[in-house]
Amino acid sequence: MRVPLSKIARPGWGIAFDTRGNSADLSALSLPERVCVPLQQHIGSAATPVVKPGDRVLTGQPLARAAANRLGAAVHAPLAGRVQAIARQPGPGRTGLAVSIESDGTDERWPGYTAHRDPLRLSTSALRSAVVQGGIVGLGGATFPAGVKLNRGSGVDTLILNGVECEPVISCDDALMRTDVDAMLLGAQIMLRILEADSCIVALKDGMADALQTVTTALQTLADDRFSIAILPPVYPAGGEAQLIELLTGREIPAGGLPWDSGAICQNVATAAAVAHLLRSGEPLISRIVTVTGAVVAPANFRVRIGTPISHLIAAAGGYTDTSSRQLIMGGPMMGIELPDDSLPVVKATNCIYVPTIDELPATAAELPCIRCGDCATACPAHLMPQLLLQAQATSDTERMQSLGLQDCIECGCCDYVCPSKIPLTRRFVAAKQELWDIAFEKRRAAKARERIAARTTRQQRQQQEQADQLAAQTHNVSDTDTAHQKLQELLQRTGADREDPS
């Protein structure tokens, strides 16, 4: 069977990176002696621990369940061993509760999840609850709980398997497609069944020749006519969810809406594979593929248990080549976050550990004035005009920032990259967004406060009136009503003054 294949033209926005020469080989990695598993590795609330220090846990056993009625995901033991502590520990980008486990070397499997021979026979509700139980989150880096996105009845007709990997140095999705394509396609079929969607586009980047070959062959064997392949130009951020949906379907996620409002959703290729591993082998999300690249002796991809210290990965890659001035980035060079040191654990979001060489990072140049060259507007995938947004931000003009679409900024960093004046635009916009959020919040709060103050004033007036009426009733018999009235007025004035003076 011929698999439909389309090639997407280069969009006007974004930055074209040369990504040839990314090593996508998958190397073996020994089990670490100790893991540290943060309880919040996803968008939403931290998971609630279900184990105690001292407990023995098996590989794949739930350590924490998703917080009730909140957006979140479960967390599982990546290896068998003893729980040493549940304490606040620094993780990549976020400090929070984490479970430390010392390995006992057995890697004994927890039997709690059933392995199904044919998961596609299960009911959609069973499939979806399994995805939720399995702690599966988007593995492209955003870590949105996958179960929430896989929602029947949300009107999604197209599932996009995102293997575009548009950040320049990362190759973990490439490695996954080359080594785990069957699981990926089974996962996609499961997701299609949950969504009741009828088409699935496998999106790859131009230049992933081996992965394209593997996926094409696998799809030919699978002979499922819901699948097609799309090849995207090596442009950052073509792999961003909103951009990918636009490039592949021509639809857009409406402003303020959620991905499925466009009728299409993206799932990372590794997420699909994780779903298949869960249902076919009973293995929840306890490992992922991580690219280790940059100034290390042997750049490679590893399948890594969640919670493994990053130093373990660096050692497996042969160590640093340059020990003098070293930086460590989790993620890619465009959106990655800087890590303080390599003792931090790998989490579900860790797609890449990038050790930049010194000449790859620009010297911190002094910021020059904006010359309105417009390169940022050309590069912006959301079609914003960052040069005008910057003006509005400089004058704290919140209304103008809003009308220029500050809320639609996806924080991809393209404008910073192209800016000849080296202005940290994205950082400014993130701060401005937070400010807008604060202002809106205070406005809502002020409106509510005004209502409550009005209610309180009415109540106080009523109480005073009642008191006055009582007083009047008591003094009714007094012949000199004028004196009584005068007294009443004095009393009212005094109470009023007492209330008004805050001291």
Binding site: S45, F144, S396, F441, E442
Partner: protein, 171 residues
């Protein structure tokens, strides 16, 4: 000479008519300046500006007896908004009247509270619940963080803490 006079008079007439027409057709602003100004203030009634509440402060601004930069809970954004409404030069909050702290609320240390009910009377938005000799607590969603409950508390068991929303927006 005569022509010039006629031409200028004609222009004035046409422009005047045009302005009148525009003035009639544009939506009228019914709100009084005081209401408009008060709507910009954060309604904390915190009195940090030196006036007993937001409305008295708004009155003072309109009367010209107070500067527009005294509202610390409103922050610079409020000052800018007031400046725009009144056509004044924009300014930043005068630090003499307190610091801008967005998203703060009062929290009662329930172990230390003696249940005196003094803070309940002080709260302008009725955000503290409790009764005599029973522990009080602050309704987080209603508290404006105005700090008016701090002075009356005899055991200093109320503190002002930041209120950061857990998730900004589901991405």
């Amino acid at each position: 000479m005569i022509t010039a006079i006629f031409i200028l008079a004609g222009i004035a007439l046409v422009v005047g008519l045009g302005l009148t027409l525009v003035n009639r057709t544009l939506p009228q602003n019914d709100q009084s300046p005081l209401d408009e100004l008060e709507a910009l203030l954060p309604a904390t009634q915190c009195a940090q500006c030196g006036y007993p509440g937001c409305r008295p402060y708004a009155e003072a601004i309109l009367a010209g007896t107070a500067d527009i930069n005294r509202c610390a809970p409103g922050g610079d954004a409020t000052v800018t908004a007031i400046a725009r409404l009144l056509g004044r030069h924009t300014a930043t909050v005068d630090p003499a009247y307190g610091a801008y702290q967005p998203g703060h609320v009062a929290v009662v240390d329930e172990a230390a509270c003696i249940g005196c009910a003094l803070c309940i009377a002080a709260c302008p938005v009725d955000a503290i619940v409790g009764a005599h000799r029973y522990t009080h607590t602050v309704i987080r969603d209603e508290c404006t963080g105005c700090k008016l409950c701090l002075p009356p508390c005899p055991v200093d068991c109320i503190s002002i803490v930041p209120l950061r929303p857990a998730t900004r927006q589901a991405a």
